[in-house]
């Protein structure tokens, strides 16, 4: 009797499992894993989403921070988890950068993930101390006239901010000195203190100083002018035609998510992104709340992997 039970048990479970997944996903707590420290942008966005998804899915959604190596520790971890929909990952623009920056990643940046939806998209702004440069054109002219005279402070080697600065140099032919700081706030302090001439960072880092008239925002990195900053010219229309850099936050999961689970999650994410509160909070973080299909997100990731890999090679940034 016992023997029969033991031989049929795995079969019974195997038959029952998909049924359970179909009928009642989710029937236990979900988690959103991300690869950055508590309180950073990724953490905050995760918590905003988790808070609302808990309501919508009727199961607690908890946030798990697994920081390390530019988010790759978390990506490696998530890629190895069961694709059952209970483990999600908040991905950021750095996911695409990492594909070019690291020699050996324990995962494939595209193949090992199910891409669900973007959450927010945001551009970077080019800022200098007020009155120092009349326009972005004047800045590039000054840089071309005296190579190496303009110092850009950035938020860390291999950060999207850093690579955007490198790309600006490559596209315009200007030679900048790129100086790393521990995060955007430290780079901003250096700009205020007069140690660097320029920073390229998100609205959250730059807005406060710009509003107070301490900084001039010279340009935005997106291809089109950014909503709310209509008077800020794009790099695309001024000094570097075709320049188009935005960063993003998105939700993904391990590859091989069952279709119905994927559908449930995508629907829920779309619902949350329509909520007035959530839109307000994501906008407050300097991003445009915007969902997408999984295919659109995957295409975005693939496109950015190509761009950043090329910048890393051209700028001769050390791979790790």
């Amino acid at each position: 009797m016992f023997r029969t039970l033991m031989t049929t048990l795995p079969l019974t479970i195997a038959l029952a499992l998909p049924a359970v997944a179909q009928d009642s996903f989710p029937d236990r707590a979900l988690r959103i894993v991300h690869g950055f420290g508590p309180g950073g942008n990724a953490d905050t966005v995760s918590r905003i989403m988790a808070e609302q998804m808990t309501q919508g899915l009727g199961q607690p959604v908890v946030v798990e921070s697994r920081p390390g190596a530019g988010g790759t520790v978390a990506s490696g971890y998530v890629a190895g988890e069961e694709p059952d929909g209970y483990t999600l990952q908040l991905l950021v623009g750095g996911h695409a950068v990492a594909a070019g920056l690291y020699n050996e990643l324990p995962y494939d940046s595209v193949e090992d993930f199910t891409f669900l939806s973007t959450v927010g998209q945001f551009p970077f702004f080019v800022a200098a101390r007020a009155g120092e440069y009349e326009s972005i054109n004047a800045l590039i002219e000054a840089a071309l006239a005296e190579p190496g005279s303009i110092v850009i402070g950035h938020s860390g080697v291999g950060s999207t901010q850093h690579l955007t600065g490198e790309l600006l140099g490559l596209e315009t032919g200007a030679e900048f000195i790129h100086v790393p700081y521990q995060g955007g706030a430290a780079a901003s302090t250096a700009l205020m203190g007069g140690e660097v001439n320029l920073i390229i960072d998100t609205g959250t880092v730059i807005r406060g100083q710009a509003d107070a008239g301490v900084y001039d925002i010279l340009a935005v990195t997106s291809a089109e002018r950014w909503p709310g900053y209509e008077d800020v010219p794009t790099l695309n229309e001024t000094v570097a035609e075709g320049f188009d850099v935005i960063s993003w936050t998105a939700l993904g999961a391990p590859a091989g998510l069952p279709e119905d689970v994927e559908a449930t999650l995508s629907e829920e994410i779309a619902r949350v992104l329509e909520l007035e509160d959530v839109r307000g909070q994501i906008e407050a973080l300097g991003a445009n709340p915007q969902g997408s299909t999984g295919e659109e997100l995957q295409a975005l990731v693939e496109r950015q992997i190509a761009v950043w890999t090329e910048v890393i090679d051209s700028a001769e940034i050390e791979r790790r």
């Binding site: 190596a69 080697v157 302090t189 205020m192 660097v196 107070a212 940034i317 790790r320």
Partner: protein, 502 residues
Amino acid sequence: MIDQFLLGLSVVLQPDVLIYAFAGVFIGQLIGVLPGIGAITAISLLLPITFYLDATASMILLAGIYYGSQYGGSIASILLNLPGTPSSVVTCLDGYPLAQNGRAGLALFVAAFSSFIGGMIGVSILVLAAIPMTTIALRFGAPEYAMLVVLGLLAASLIGTGSQLRSFAMVLVGIALGVVGADATTGFYRFVAMPELADGISLVSLAMGLFGVSEIIRHATHHGRPTPRLNLKIRDILPTRAEARSLGGPILRGSAIGSFFGALPGTGAAIASFMSYATEKRFSRTPGKFGKGHLPGLSAPEAANNAASQTGFIPTLTLGIPGDAVMALIIGALILNGIIPGPRLMVDQPLLFWGVIASFFVGNIILLLINIPLIRLWVLLLRIPYQKLYPIIIVMICVGVYSHRTSVVDVVLTLAFGIVGYLMKSYRFEPAPVLLGFVLGPLLEDNFRRTMLIYRGDFLIFVERPISAGLLACTTALIVFSVYSAIRNRRPPAGLPAKNEH
């Protein structure tokens, strides 16, 4: 200024705001006592709550957790030798020996009182001199930070009780450990044996291992060591008149040093507490007493780190620039409330700005009031027999360390550092200089290389810039003074380590 401060007080004294000030400092205090769980973990867990609070209440709550945890941190350091932050490492140096000698109540009282005075002086500076302090802080660029850290490293090798050569060697060990991880200038991986180490060794692992775990191993290997005698009468908690008199100078000097360094974004609070410890020891007539339960060695750094945790809000509030990760979280809460932190905050949101500052004032008073009665309760912790207390603490350390980066590697490293710390103690090498080297080494490297990058490798920049030159002069003077007094005295340096206590 005073008018606006009173306006702020009127905000914070409303019952529905006051409750958040109280809740903040109370939670902060409790979190601070738990080994390894820092303000940053607590604040990030509470961040969603602030979605439902207005900006002023959120700021007051989160800021309260921050400076409340400074108070709490000293309790764990004094009673159990468990420092959670670089500043509480210094608190261990004299606080823990006091507790071991049965004077835990006194140590907690002196720490609470010194913290209170330091905090209040810090708030006063914040009210009266926020703008001038900001101007000074902005003049600290890479060369200034590099020179400041050199001075700090020198101070670090002064804080041990044994020979300075041994301390200096330990500083170097700390610097070497700090090298692990991605090089900040090129991104090159150094000694990254596994991906978990890409961002370096965790400070919490190192501190908990070298201090807390090693101490537990030491006790476990010495059977029958008596539980320290407990003095719980009020008379034993209060300092004697002579002791009280000896604390005035250290507290005031500590507060001044803390207030200044706190206002420097990034580096401040960590350097402040041991800079003040080193100052007291260097200019004390009895340097040999430091490290063995000397009250000025406890009160000066306590005053300094609490003053620093208040003036640390200067760049955050006046410029919208977070000085450390916790400040970044607090600013994040503001942003989520639709307020853009920046130089206009003071003008656009006077009620918020001054309300938060006034809440520091009120919060420090609340902390003092809840701390004094709790002292006797905390001291009772020591009555729990070691064989029951220590397993619990080990588990809590593991949970706390794990919570920082969700990393098992960190937990294993903590236990390994515990064994290393035990061996170090057995051979009379002290852990404090290791930690300071670990914190300061990367700062020196980053700022030195940044200077070289910006000023094209021109070494003269360090003497051309006035603040940097001044710091360099201080360092030189300190070295000359040390050498001179060593030659003049022609006797072994004061405070040769006492015979090993076990």
